[in-house]
Symmetry: C2
Subunit: 440 residues, 2 copies
């Protein structure tokens, strides 16, 4: 938790500085809100809640015979949050009369997927989303790039790449090769380039009805290389005869310029014209962040969508958002050794318990330490000093204050630095001053 | 969220100062862990999760005929966390070889109950628990009293009462009136004294097989009045012939003395010898906190238990804990108007967007403000100043920086205090200094 809170506090601090307010939505949503939003696979991966009370009262054996898919809606009306996007869309629609638009929110909550757990894939994991809805200004995309740079910079994940693309580029490429309208299939295949390589992507396209000439026409996609601006220039040239392509290039160009105007010299931006991120709802910018030098999927992803709230009866609301994979970021930081050393330290001072007669000194001292914002404890049981030593060590508590008969007589308290073994004697006020000087 | 975070941050700060470390446990537990821990009513109120995949494959029509109670375990193996205590017990048992005992943890997470929602009763609500396990030292009880005083004091809920009792007192009273072994029934009835009054409690006891003479012998319970120490003296006198009673009185007396030794002069402690808190697992101290002058159930409760982990095969582990009802505390603070005024303010400065040509000034200024830890935004769309004014007002953002053609020419930026209407002109650095002086 100390490590997770370290990550979350950095993220919250950046989101707040950029004007995003935190919201939370309920864990349990009506299945009518969730079903059909994540594809067939998503529907299967929803955790569904059994109705309360006598849920089977009206079931017949015919219902059993019809199989679990038709049985489910008869015994389950609610499910667990699957992501933060759909609940956010519902929230925006339900509160549309009260929200000041554009509306900027961030949300950090767990989501649940009834999946087979494996590395980087959990049944319960935190998502952390920031979205702006109610504007199509590219300033929002630029601020996403700024936020990602600030967050990963603050977490000391120095080596990362923000891949960016634009759905309009993907649409234009499909048009360019004469595959208008087959853009979805094209995106699904091209999205796998990283994983399965060029040849297999081409095979999949052929298998899905793309003609050999289309594959030939597609070759420039694999040949566009260089830095952000160089790639953009080549792309502009290739797609110059497609209006959608010109628009996509113009948006990417403006994004690059805005980021520069904000004063960000090294935005870690990489143009990846094969980036599609599966989700078909992106309509403009598409983002994905990868930590380099670590074997881990994307640690952040997002993009612009023009119809987030359409399925809830509120069409035409444009927005752009980013989701951070907190648990994967955790794994990356663990692997790279990026967590500060002293994160787990909750308690700074332990006071020994060598009998009730020492309480007259120990308890007011404890109150004094805490009044000075120092986390402090007394060992709860009267037991041998050795046992109290070992416990203080096991808890990694850096200071132990010893109050025994000597200390009762002299009024001077012994404090031991558990790391160096050094011991000092102080009266209570000196002791608090000493601990403060060591701890803060 | 701003208000809830205000409460949670105060609580976390106190728990940390007293040496408690934060943990979280999964939302979903096996039903085998949850069932039977909260009584029959609790079993009914558990949200149960439908098994994934083809859950009805092996069901027969006989299973349907047997009714929902026997059907449930065949189609559901998991449920949602119902409180933080049972998952904590499971956690302690699973990690018993790694935890330094005594173990002090706090946990702030939502819990779920399939109940009918009403005032102060929610289907999803935050619980916030702190427990120490592995010691039976009364220092822990005393520190609970200290923590409760600090937390409610910091939240400005000045008027509250920490009711305290001891399970040994309740057991002794049952013995005293000759109702040994009927202590559970006695506790259930006496627990309702606040709600239904003395006569109805007596009726319930009679209806449950208590004899009239027992009710007569019970009368002192209603006559013990005065402050903490006065009540304790009367109780000591009444129960002097019962060993269990002498032990309970001794524990309460020591608790009072320890709290005083810590230097807490006004501990808001009230001895309530009818306090039982329903839960039968308390074995020592029992706590309950009420906010006075507000119509709201208890906002905190807890006590000592000697067998938290017994049902998970680890008997004899003593612990004491307290649970804070965050959502009820929220309602109390709302009703008493105790939240600070400026809590909702995430953004301090809005910058106008009067066209791309102003970005050369606006965007670096935005970066400068944020680098100084000031939450700042630019209005995303180029639109009429009036609209941007209204938006800034609706968002309660206190400062608006106007950058138009005048400002582009002069290099001096106008900042408007949205509350007073005052306007000033500064260059960028002066402006940041001004905002810092106003905001921090």
């Amino acid at each position: 938790m100390a490590k997770r809170n370290f990550i979350l506090n950095q993220i919250k601090s950046t989101f707040s500085k950029f004007g995003f307010s935190q919201i939370e939505t309920p864990t349990i949503e009506n299945l009518s809100v969730l079903m059909g939003k994540y594809g067939d696979e998503g529907d299967q991966l929803l955790f569904k809640i059994l109705n309360s009370g006598n849920f089977s009262e009206k079931l017949s054996s015919q219902d059993l015979d019809n199989g679990y898919k038709s049985l489910t809606p008869k015994i389950s009306e609610k499910g667990l949050r699957y992501d933060l996007t759909v609940p956010f869309a519902r929230f925006v629609v339900m509160n549309r009369n009260d929200l000041a638009m554009p509306f900027k929110r961030f949300q950090i909550q767990p989501v649940w997927r009834a999946d087979k757990p494996q590395r980087g894939r959990y049944r319960e994991f935190y998502q952390c989303d920031a979205d702006v809805v109610g504007t199509n200004s590219l300033l929002c995309e630029a601020e996403i790039v700024l936020m990602l740079n600030e967050i990963f910079g603050n977490l000391k994940i120095e080596n990362f790449s923000i891949k960016v693309n634009n759905r309009k580029i993907l649409t234009a490429i499909a048009q360019k090769i004469g595959a208008d309208g087959n853009e979805a299939k094209f995106c699904v295949a091209i999205d796998k380039l990283d994983k399965i390589g060029k040849t297999k992507v081409e095979d999949e396209l052929l298998a899905n009805g793309f003609e050999p000439q289309m594959i030939v026409d597609l070759q420039p996609i694999f040949e566009i290389t260089g830095n952000f601006n160089e790639k953009l220039a080549k792309l502009e040239d290739w797609l110059s005869d497609i209006e959608m392509g010109r628009n996509g290039v113009a948006e990417l160009k403006e994004l690059g310029q805005l980021v520069k105007s904000f004063g960000l010299e090294t935005p870690n931006l990489e143009l990846d014209i094969t980036l599609a991120r599966g989700l078909s709802y992106y309509t403009g910018a598409i983002f994905e962040v990868k930590a380099l030098g670590v074997n881990m999927g994307s640690i952040s992803g997002g993009g612009r969508y023009d119809n987030l709230t359409g399925s809830f009866g509120m069409p035409g609301l444009s927005g752009v958002g980013i989701s951070l994979g907190v648990d994967r970021i955790y794994d990356v930081m663990e692997e790279l050794g990026l967590f500060p050393n002293n994160l787990g330290l909750s308690t700074q001072v332990m006071i020994t318990n060598l009998g009730n007669e020492t309480f007259q000194i120990a308890l007011p001292l404890l109150t004094l330490l805490r009044a000075n914002c120092i986390s402090a404890e007394i060992y709860p049981d009267t037991s041998k000093l050795k046992k109290q030593f070992e416990y203080t060590n096991k808890r990694n508590i850096p200071f132990l204050i010893i109050i025994g008969t000597d200390e009762l007589e002299s009024g001077l308290l012994t404090i031991k630095n558990m790391n160096t073994g050094e011991q000092f004697k102080f009266d209570a006020n000196e002791l608090v001053a000493f601990v403060k000087s060591q701890v803060f």
